[in-house]
């Protein structure tokens, strides 16, 4: 089993594609650093800047109509935390490595897309190249081969997340410097209260929940990869599902049945920051839904992979 896992990992990391994706991720972090640096107000000028922000947020909230519920809520949260910062004399623009890392965490969407590329390819590519015949005519059973591919996918997901975290902090440190454990992050909690959390704790929470989301989403791509046997198709469908899925959930958030859609449940951050997107959802419910989907998707992949005749690819 460990040998199979080594094989699958080698097939990921000996391809230049993997390193190109990671390089792109690092370049993206660099771009975020550059943007952050150039949009920083002059030292000491943060109060007037923040006051302007609060005013324009207020105008937006009172005069704009027809914005989706979720966007309105986002603006409202921003307003709440800006006011909190003003009141407590906290400079929200002051950036250090930690603060920057939590900004760069927004690149998790990009990281996820890259993870889906590998997850959607890992089974399908064996069919596309015909190497599946060689792979399945050694002595390893199909179940073991599939398990090793799945584990390699998750390991790649973890590694990509680490690349994002480590390079965000490193680039942040190089550009903005490190100031102790960093200033606390201001955010709106699930009950609408403004709170502060140590920036490292905030980072850990963000990435912890990202890993949960990553596992579930990568499993979708992995399942599609076994079903379609075409890398292009499974990668495209997986990324589209990932992007459209959460947008769809936002758009349909007034219907309560939406809570049974997988994507309403994958982001557990909602139970700690901002509150659940659909009224009545709980952390326990979301975990149960994810586990149910997870079992169905893995069961289906396994069943198809083990039972299917490998004839003309």
């Amino acid at each position: 089993m460990i040998n199979l896992l080594i094989n699958e990992n080698l097939k990921i990391y000996l391809r230049s594609r993997t390193w190109i994706l990671w390089a792109l991720l690092v370049v993206a972090i660099g771009l975020v650093a550059w943007t952050t640096l150039s949009s920083q107000p002059h030292v000491g000028a943060w109060r007037p800047q923040l006051i302007t922000n609060v005013q324009s947020l207020q105008t937006a909230l009172t005069h704009t109509k027809g914005l989706p519920r979720a966007s309105m809520q986002q603006l409202r949260e921003q307003l709440l935390s800006d006011r909190y910062d003003l009141k407590h004399n906290l400079d929200p623009f002051r950036t250090d490595a930690w603060k920057f890392a939590s900004t760069a965490a927004n690149l998790d969407v990009l990281a996820m897309a890259f993870i889906l590329v590998i997850a959607g390819d890992i089974v399908a590519s064996e069919y596309a190249t015909g190497t599946i015949k060689m792979l399945l005519t050694q002595t390893a059973t199909r179940t073991r081969i599939l398990v090793s591919k799945y584990l390699a996918t998750l390991l790649f997901g973890l590694a990509t997340t680490l690349v994002l975290v480590v390079f965000s902090i490193a680039i942040g440190a190089a550009v903005f410097g490190v100031q102790g454990a960093g200033a606390p992050t201001t955010y709106v909690n699930a009950t609408g209260q403004v709170e502060q959390m140590g920036v490292i704790a905030y980072l850990l929470m963000t990435y912890g929940f990202f890993l949960v989301e990553m596992i579930v989403t990568a499993t979708i791509a992995f399942m599609l990869s076994t079903i379609f046997r075409s890398s292009a198709l499974s990668i495209t469908v997986a990324i589209l599902t990932f992007l459209v899925g959460s947008t769809l959930v936002e758009a349909l958030s007034r219907f309560s049945w939406v809570k049974y859609i997988l994507f309403a449940n994958t982001n557990l951050t909602q139970y700690f920051v901002g509150g659940p997107r659909i009224a009545g959802m709980t952390l326990g419910f979301s975990i149960e839904m994810m586990i149910a989907y997870f079992i169905v998707m893995l069961g289906l992949s396994w069943w198809i992979f083990v039972k299917r005749d490998v004839s003309y690819s």
């Binding site: 094989n7 000996l14 190497t131 060689m134 059973t141 039972k307 005749d309 004839s311």
Partner: protein, 309 residues
Amino acid sequence: MTLAPRVEIAHLTKRIGSKAIVDDLSFQIPAGEVFGLLGPNGAGKTTTIRMMVGLIAASSGTVEINGLDVAKHFQQAMQHVGAIVESPEMYGFLSGRQNLRHFARMCQGVTEARIEEVVQQVGLEARINDRVNTYSLGMRQRLGLAQALLRRPDVLLLDEPTNGLDPAGIRELRDYLRRLAQSEGLTVVVSSHLLSEMELMCDRVAIIQSGKLVDIQTMGEIAATADGVSEVSLDVDDASAANAVIAARFEGIEVTTRDNELVLTLSREQIPELVAALVGAGAKVYGVRALKRSLEDQFLAMTGGRSVD
């Protein structure tokens, strides 16, 4: 000897929909035999080999390797099998050696030294560290063979192994397989529609058509025809004079004349008789040749000369 057969196929059948693409196939292959699967395109050779290595589940029937059912004891059975199914696809972004290491990791007891050994056996030392993307078809075929030999199998399954090999490579492969079969008792199953290939390589050949076993022929039997009658070609100086002698000696015999070559069908005993008669009549005989009916003729006769069906 009453050794159990290395490969035993019993009532192997594959149905897709209502069509049986392999239909009730049964045969046994002992150790050390090179066994051919011969049939026109679409006969079901590849399908049979795919079922033998578990890529396709049989609709009914069994495949046993060393007495182990491939469907039930996949791991143990496959430990004794090396295979190339259709073209030998490898990971193009890896080197030949990395590919072999990859497959070596998947089974028990293949050492780095063994990898070195098979690379030499298939004659790929010079290019083994290059990426497979840069290989020619024949080089891929050699690498595929190296892969199949890695775990010292008892049974080697090769689907169209000469595909893409140059004449020297084909000859080399043929000699190599024969040598392995003879010296190490390896059982080899090759499929092909190249009849001449099969004749030179195999001990026995199963002729398959439309998924059904038509016949199993031993190669030795093919040279000698059933009732000892063979076609003979004579090279003479004067065809018409010779024809007259033959007509006088063997009444009613049919002779085909082409320039100074006469072709006629005789029993073995009649051949010296004919030569003596011709010489006695003053004809000059430059050559006498027994024309073997080739496997190709037999094959075409058996399958009715049709190809794809």
